[in-house]
């Protein structure tokens, strides 16, 4: 499937997903909203972690800022939802532009832990801000319309994926990949590494903040613990890496599949669901380190030896 065929298949998949609120059950729509928003986060992470190779474990900062930006605009200033979303997105992007330059100087695990610390610090900050409702949180006006939230989430995911597709084909994306492969060499070749890393982070911040805003209005109640949920950081990284980091569709496929797996497990065998989730992650990394999107081509090329070769390449 190349070019036109792939495009048609994607359009058909998008149309089928868009029809879910009219055909599926209420529970399916609610599950769908969560899955779509997490997929958006994974796709946002993909630009920084997958393309630029900066493994952020703190993207929930932007999600949380989007959540709080929207909620504060709507409850304290009584703005409509659209303006709230814009305020949340502006807050997230501003944070990325402000904090990006210092933390993107760090590399490898140091960057990872600095971002992790950032989300912990942000959570504590909002727990002490009077305008953000301190520890108690904020209650947004109630709006019953799962279908609307579903379509918004789907649209956001489609936009984020389209943006990633554009990145993958642009000079900007090529620069990010060059930074991932060898940052010093990329600088020597004339890539403005600092600027492009910060822009990549800002792009991730934009989609994550919008996802946070949609989630805030849908769930109507937010507090620091849920807005800056540290498990969300790990979740989006796992989904993106499971699907295939640094590819356009990998993070989306990975997060859809893992969301479905954990949903089915949670309903069928609730007590061992997390155990199984952990095992899936371990086995996936050992046997297909390049993600789900590499599985098909790899199997076609090598057959079952694909798995053995992956293990042989990375073992001691």
């Amino acid at each position: 499937m190349r070019g036109r065929g792939l495009f048609l298949a994607l359009a058909a998949a998008l149309a089928a997903l868009a029809a879910v609120p009219w055909l599926g059950s209420e529970a399916l729509v609610q599950y769908g909203i969560n899955a779509l928003l997490v997929a958006t986060l994974a796709q946002g992470w993909n630009v920084v972690g997958g393309y630029a190779g900066y493994a952020s474990f703190g993207n929930s900062v932007f999600y949380g800022l989007g959540t709080y930006g929207t909620a504060i605009a709507m409850t304290r200033f009584h703005l409509p939802f659209g303006a709230g979303l814009a305020a949340g997105a502006a807050l997230g992007v501003a944070c990325a532009l402000l904090l990006g330059p210092p933390i993107l100087r760090l590399r490898g695990p140091y960057f990872a832990i600095a971002t992790l610390g950032l989300s912990a610090a942000m959570s504590a900050l909002f727990a002490n801000l009077p305008i953000a409702g301190k520890n108690i949180g904020l209650i947004l006006p109630l709006y019953r319309g799962d279908a609307l939230f579903y379509e918004l989430s789907l649209g956001l995911l489609a936009l984020a994926t389209a943006a990633t597709w554009w990145v993958s084909r642009s000079r900007f994306g090529a620069g990010l990949v060059a930074i991932r492969e060898n940052e010093d060499a990329a600088r020597v070749m004339g890539v403005n590494a600092t600027l492009w890393k910060v822009l990549a982070l800002a792009l991730a911040a934009l989609s994550s903040a919008l996802a946070g805003g949609i989630h805030a209005y849908w769930i109507t109640f937010i507090d620091p613990a849920s807005a800056f949920d540290p498990t969300l950081n790990v979740k989006m990284v796992i989904m993106a890496v499971f699907g295939g980091p640094g590819t356009v569709l990998g993070p989306v496929i990975g997060s859809f599949l893992l969301s479905a797996v954990s949903e089915v497990l949670a309903s069928r065998l609730s007590s061992v669901a997390s155990l199984f989730y952990g095992l899936v992650v371990v086995l996936a990394v050992v046997f297909m380190p390049r993600g789900l999107v590499d599985l098909g081509p790899g199997l076609r090329r090598r057959g079952w030896r694909y798995f053995a070769e992956n293990v042989r390449r990375h073992r001691l």
Partner: protein, 286 residues
């Protein structure tokens, strides 16, 4: 003034234990280049091992420590030999994910096996304390502090003075060169991870004496260990203990004078300060 001394003392006693927690993580990170996100879960398992030795078999927690350490060493050795050695040359992100997966698996196995109840290792002398010039010195944390220092000194001596210790340090410095000199990396890696797990086990047992263990303590302890390992430097066991003391004192003074909700902010704030003021370490190791 007396209050301040008391707060700093509490911080130091806590910090020694923090240092021990981070010791295993720093060792594994420095030698194997694996940031072990399951380190906190290993600490948690060690805590349960000591708890059941004490509550089930009546063994004194400090006497149970070596037993728990031996068990954790075996677990760590097996994990590295049969799982982590298979991915150790993979990208950093992949080793992070595998150890995260292990963390999830261990946490939930612990929840199934030990239930989610809070457990405290509570020997009869747990409440005893000394009074030194008006300052209260609790005995159990003091003993835990002493045990932590002892283990750090033992690790330091082992790395510096024995043939195996030298092989471990050589592997950390240059894998290829170590191989050329007859070091078998498979053995050294499994041994190092085993030692890391054993130290985590000891830290867990002591943590159970001074605090409470649940199956879920792992994540926060991993984050603390990570911060301390960087604060102290990866290749110096005694430096890691100093890093632990710094974090312990920073936490207790913050909780006393500012607000307990800022504890995590202070930890990561310290980390960022260190990264900014000593950035060479962050860049060289990347």
């Amino acid at each position: 003034m007396l209050l301040f001394v008391q707060i700093v003392l509490n911080g130091v006693l806590l910090g020694g234990l923090y240092g021990l927690m981070a010791l295993g993580m720093g060792l594994v990170w420095g030698v194997l280049n694996i940031v072990n996100l399951a380190h906190g879960a290993l600490i948690m398992l060690g805590g349960y091992a000591v708890y059941y030795l004490y509550a089930g078999a009546g063994v004194d927690p400090f006497a149970a420590l070596p037993v728990a350490m031996a068990g954790m060493f075996c677990l760590g050795w097996l994990l590295q030999r049969f799982l982590l050695n298979a991915i150790v040359r993979s990208a950093l992100l992949n080793t992070l994910l595998v150890t995260f997966g292990l963390d999830v698996v261990m946490t939930y196995l612990a929840q199934l096996a030990f239930s989610a109840d809070l457990r405290t290792i509570n020997p009869p002398y747990a409440g005893n304390h000394l009074d030194v010039a008006g300052v209260t010195v609790p005995l159990a944390p003091l003993a835990a502090f002493a045990a932590a220092l002892l283990l750090a000194a033992a690790l330091s001596a082992f790395l510096a003075g024995t043939r195996t210790g030298r092989a471990i340090r050589a592997t950390a410095q240059n894998l290829t060169a170590a191989r050329l000199h007859g070091v078998d990396p498979k053995r050294v890696y499994a041994l190092t991870f085993g030692i890391g797990a054993a130290l985590a086990g000891a830290a867990g047992g002591l943590y159970g004496v001074v605090s409470q263990i649940t199956p879920y303590v792992g994540v926060t302890l991993t984050a603390k260990s990570f911060v301390i390992a960087i604060l102290g430097g990866l290749d110096r066991p005694l430096g890691v203990i100093v890093g632990g003391l710094a974090l312990g004192v920073a936490e207790t003074t913050t909780a006393a004078y500012l607000d307990p909700t800022y504890i995590n902010v202070v930890g990561f704030g310290l980390l960022v300060l260190v990264l900014v003021s000593r950035p060479s370490q962050a860049f060289e190791r990347a």
